[in-house]
């Protein structure tokens, strides 16, 4: 099994939950909080914390709206987020090829 220094990877994405969030959002254009929670399989609090970190890094954006008077937050990858995710995956692939 090849192993490598994790410091070579983007720190913002390199966390199991944040990587899962980015992977979900690269697959769908937009996803709401509940969908993300179901796919990432974590608690509301934990998910919120990681979403905030990704948002602060400019990797994701949030659209807030109301459906049947309930607030809905939809998350989507920004251009910066897509680029960072692509670079992260490329880095992993290069590491495997070495």
């Amino acid at each position: 099994m090849k192993e490598f220094d994790y410091h070579q990877l983007d720190d913002v994405i390199h966390s199991r939950i944040r990587l899962a969030i980015m992977s979900v959002l690269i697959s769908v254009d937009e996803a709401d909080f509940i969908f993300l929670r179901e796919k990432v399989r974590t608690t509301d609090g934990n998910l919120s914390t990681h979403l905030k970190k990704l948002e602060d890094a400019g990797y994701i954006a949030v659209n807030k709206s109301f459906v049947k008077r309930k607030p809905i937050s939809r998350y989507l990858l920004t251009k910066k987020g897509k680029t960072a995710f692509g670079a992260y995956v490329n880095r992993l692939e290069k590491m495997i090829k070495k």
């Binding site: 099994m1 490598f4 992977s23 979900v24 769908v28 254009d29 692939e93 590491m95």
Partner: protein
Amino acid sequence: METIDPKQELAFIKKIMTDSRKSVICNGKTFILWGILVTIGLIGSYFSIKSNVQSVMNWMWPLLMGLGWVITIITESRSARESKTKTFAAKILASVWIGCGIAMTIIGFVGSVSGAYNPLYINPLISNIMAVGFLITGILYGKTWISLISLGWWAGAIVMFFWTGLYTFLLMSAMMIFFLIIPGVFMFKQYKKELITG
């Protein structure tokens, strides 16, 4: 130095992406609605022609189609607002069926009113468009059985082009039930199942 396995990381990303893409993009409700409305219209047309009261068709089809479009616009815009995700595949699927719906409405009304063709050719023409719609839906949905339904629509179109007649209204009704309503029910069940299992 902390180390990780890149292969495991990539496998994890792939698994999450595959799982997210599995989300059902079509709930089948629109198929059921249009299948019922058009079947009513076709059977109504068959009996109105047989009974020589063809004037019924002058109001029946505009009423059914108008009702279909109004309900579709309301329910689909509501579904889009309430949907957990917005995917590119869902956008394409919606565009395909809006395009098919407009084309079928034009074929059904404008084509026959203008006298461009015999109204008996409306059914096979519409059947062809349904085939294209199902072929694309199956590919986007990732279900071969949905794509295969298009073969039924195309076969029906060939039969109706070669052997025109009043019976085509009944044949088209049966096709609406077996190739639109029943698949719609299966899709709706799949959608419900996904809502429960997440």
